[in-house]
C-alpha cells in the first residue's frame, strides 16, 4: 500500500506502531482476510482522537477537512517517540490501519492472551535465600 517514506510520514503524524503488530503479523493477516477488513486511509487520521471520530462514524466530517500531505511532509525532519494511543480499536498490518469492531478486537486479544497465558504458566522465581547470599557476597567485597 505504501512505500517506506509513507510509513515515516504516517508515524510522524499518528505515532510509531507498536511492535506487537509485527509479533502477531501472520495472525493479524489471517484476521484481516477472514473478517474482510478494509484498510482505513490513514492520511486522514491525524490525531488519535480523529481516529476515534472516524471509527464513530464521523468519517465524512473528518475527510471533509483533509490534512494536506505537503504540509505534513514539511514537518517530517525527525521522528520522535510519539507512537500509539489511537483511541479506537485497530490493528496495523503491512503498513495499513484496520479499524476493528468489538468482536474483531476480542479475536485479536484472544491471540495475545493465549500467548501470554503460556508464559505466565512458565514463570520462574528468585528465591530469597539465594539473593541473600548474593547480597552478603557483595557486602563482603565492599
Amino acid at each position: 500500500m505504501a512505500n517506506s517514506t509513507d510509513y515515516i510520514l504516517d508515524w510522524r503524524i499518528r505515532g510509531i506502531p507498536s511492535d506487537v503488530w509485527v509479533r502477531f503479523s501472520d495472525a493479524i493477516g489471517q484476521l484481516v482476510q477472514k473478517e474482510k477488513l478494509t484498510a482505513v486511509d490513514a492520511r486522514y487520521l491525524t490525531t488519535p482522537n480523529q481516529a476515534n471520530l472516524a471509527f464513530a462514524g464521523h468519517t465524512a466530517k473528518v475527510l471533509a477537512e483533509p490534512t494536506t500531505r505537503g504540509k505534513a511532509i514539511a514537518n517530517v525532519t525527525e521522528i520522535y517517540d510519539i507512537r500509539g494511543g489511537m483511541k479506537a480499536a485497530h490493528v496495523h498490518y503491512k503498513g495499513a490501519v484496520y479499524m476493528l469492531n468489538e468482536t474483531q478486537w476480542k479475536r485479536f486479544t484472544a491471540l495475545v492472551v493465549n500467548d501470554f497465558r503460556a508464559k505466565l504458566d512458565s514463570a520462574g522465581a528468585i528465591g530469597f535465600d539465594q539473593v541473600m547470599d548474593i547480597s552478603e557476597v557483595a557486602a563482603s567485597l565492599g
Binding site: N49, D81, I82, G84, I126
Partner: protein, 390 residues
C-alpha cells in the same frame, strides 16, 4: 526519549526516611547547569526527545534558579519545543499560584511525591523539624490537580505501608489525581513473608482500579496500566527500558554525573559517578540488566523490570542482579494487570490504546474532551517516572 535529571539543589525542607539523596547546602550554579544542558543535548540520540527533569532535594526551593535554567534551555541552539519535555518533581509543600502560573506558561509537567493518606504520608515524609507534611501536601495536591489535569503523583510504599496501597490510590483519587505511580522502596527490608502477601495487596489495587473504570472515572495506575501495555505488546520494547549511563543521566549541583538520579548519594563523586560536567562522561562499564540464572528460563522475563540497574542495586548491591522482592513484585503486578485486563475486556474493548503505544494521560477516558484540530496531544511515557521514588 533520553532522560536527564538536574539535581538543582541538595537542600530539602523535608527529611524523608527513605530518601536516597544526601542533604547539603549545595545549589547548582547556572554555569554548571549550562554545561549539563550542553551534555544533555549532546547525549540524546538523534531523533529522540530530550526529557529534562528538575530534581532535588526540593527543586522548588530554588524556583528562581529553575526559571533561569529553563530560559537557558530554551535559548540553546539545539532546543526545539517539540523535542524537549520539561518536568519538575516536588515534595508538594511549596506549591503556589506563582509557581503554577509559571509551570503552565512554560509547559513544565508537575509531579508531586505523596505516599498516601496522612497516616501513611506522615510515617516517612516529615519536615526537618519532624512536623508532619500531610495537611499541606493534601491541600496543594487538590489545588494542583484542579489546575493540571495531567498532574502525576508518585507514592512510595514499604513493608510497613504496602497493606495500605489500595487506600493510597483511593485517597489520591479523592484529591482529583488521575495519574498515580506506585513505587516500591527496593532498599527496604522486604521479607519472604512480605513477598508472599504482595499478590493480595496488589489485587486490592486491581479491584479498586476496575471499580473506577466501571464507574467511568478511570485512573492511570502505573502498577496496572504499565503492565497491561507490556502484556499487550509482548514485553518491554527497546525504547522503554532504562538506559542508565547511555541515555539516562543525573547531574548533581556540584557538577558530577551519575547514571540515574537514584544513585547520586552525596553528589560529589563516589562509586556510581560516571563523570563531571567539566571533564565529560566516561562509560558506565557495568552491565545493568539482571543476569540471574532464574531469569534465563522465566516465561515472564521480557515483561519484567529486571532491566532496571538501580532497582537491582538497591535490592542486591549489584546492577545486574535482580532481588527476590523485585521478582515477586513483578510477578504479582503482572498477574494483577492480567486479571484486570481479562475482567474488564469481558465487558467490551477497554485497553486498545495500551496495545498501540505508550499509555498516556489522554488514554484515561474515551469521554475526555477531544483536542481541537491541530492542538498538540501530550504523550507522557511510562517507564521514566516509574523509577522515581523521590
Amino acid at each position: 526519549m533520553a532522560k536527564h535529571t538536574l539535581v538543582v539543589t541538595q537542600q530539602c525542607n523535608l527529611r524523608c526516611t527513605y530518601c536516597y539523596v544526601s542533604k547539603s547546602d549545595t545549589v547548582m550554579p547556572l554555569s554548571t547547569a549550562r554545561r549539563a544542558i550542553d551534555l544533555a543535548f549532546a547525549n540524546t540520540p538523534a531523533g529522540e526527545t530530550v526529557d529534562i527533569g528538575y530534581f532535588g532535594g526540593e527543586p522548588l526551593l530554588e524556583f528562581g534558579l529553575m526559571q533561569d535554567i529553563t530560559a537557558a534551555i530554551k535559548v540553546h541552539p539545539e532546543y526545539r519545543r517539540e523535542r524537549v519535555v520539561l518536568s519538575v518533581i516536588s515534595n508538594g509543600t511549596l506549591y503556589s499560584d506563582e509557581i503554577a502560573d509559571y509551570l503552565e506558561r512554560e509547559q513544565i509537567h508537575l509531579c508531586v511525591s505523596c505516599d498516601g493518606p496522612p497516616e501513611i504520608q506522615d510515617r516517612a515524609r516529615r519536615y526537618l523539624s519532624g512536623r508532619p507534611t500531610s495537611a499541606v501536601v493534601e491541600r496543594n495536591i487538590k489545588r494542583a490537580a484542579e489546575r493540571f489535569p495531567d498532574l502525576r503523583v508518585n507514592a512510595v510504599y514499604r513493608p510497613d505501608t504496602v497493606q495500605g496501597l489500595a487506600r493510597t490510590v483511593e485517597y489520591l483519587a479523592s484529591l482529583g489525581v488521575t495519574q498515580i505511580h506506585l513505587n516500591p522502596d527496593y532498599s527496604a527490608g522486604w521479607s519472604a513473608a512480605d513477598a508472599a502477601a504482595l499478590p493480595g495487596w496488589y489485587a486490592q489495587v486491581g479491584e479498586l482500579y476496575s471499580r473506577y473504570r466501571l464507574q467511568e472515572r478511570p485512573l492511570f495506575v502505573s502498577l496496572i496500566d504499565s503492565k497491561i501495555a507490556v502484556i499487550l505488546r509482548g514485553g518491554y520494547q527497546a525504547g522503554e527500558v532504562c538506559r542508565m549511563g547511555s541515555a539516562e543521566f543525573a547531574y548533581t549541583a556540584a557538577g558530577w554525573i551519575y547514571p540515574c538520579e537514584r544513585l547520586v548519594g552525596d553528589g560529589i563523586g563516589g562509586d556510581h559517578c560516571i563523570g563531571n560536567v567539566d571533564s565529560g562522561l566516561r562509560p558506565l562499564g557495568k552491565c545493568c540488566g539482571a543476569t540471574n540464572p532464574e531469569c534465563a528460563t522465566c516465561g515472564l522475563a521480557c515483561y519484567c523490570m529486571r532491566w532496571c540497574g538501580c532497582s537491582n542495586y538497591f535490592g542486591t548491591g549489584r546492577y545486574d542482579r535482580a532481588s527476590a522482592f523485585l521478582c515477586a513484585s513483578e510477578r504479582a503486578s503482572i498477574q494483577t494487570a492480567f486479571d484486570v485486563f481479562c475482567r474488564l475486556e469481558k465487558r467490551g474493548p477497554a485497553f486498545f490504546d495500551h496495545a498501540s503505544g505508550l499509555p498516556h494521560a489522554d488514554s484515561l477516558s474515551a469521554a475526555a474532551p477531544l483536542p481541537a484540530r491541530g492542538q498538540a496531544v501530550r504523550f507522557i511515557p511510562l517507564h521514566k517516572g516509574d523509577l522515581h521514588n523521590g
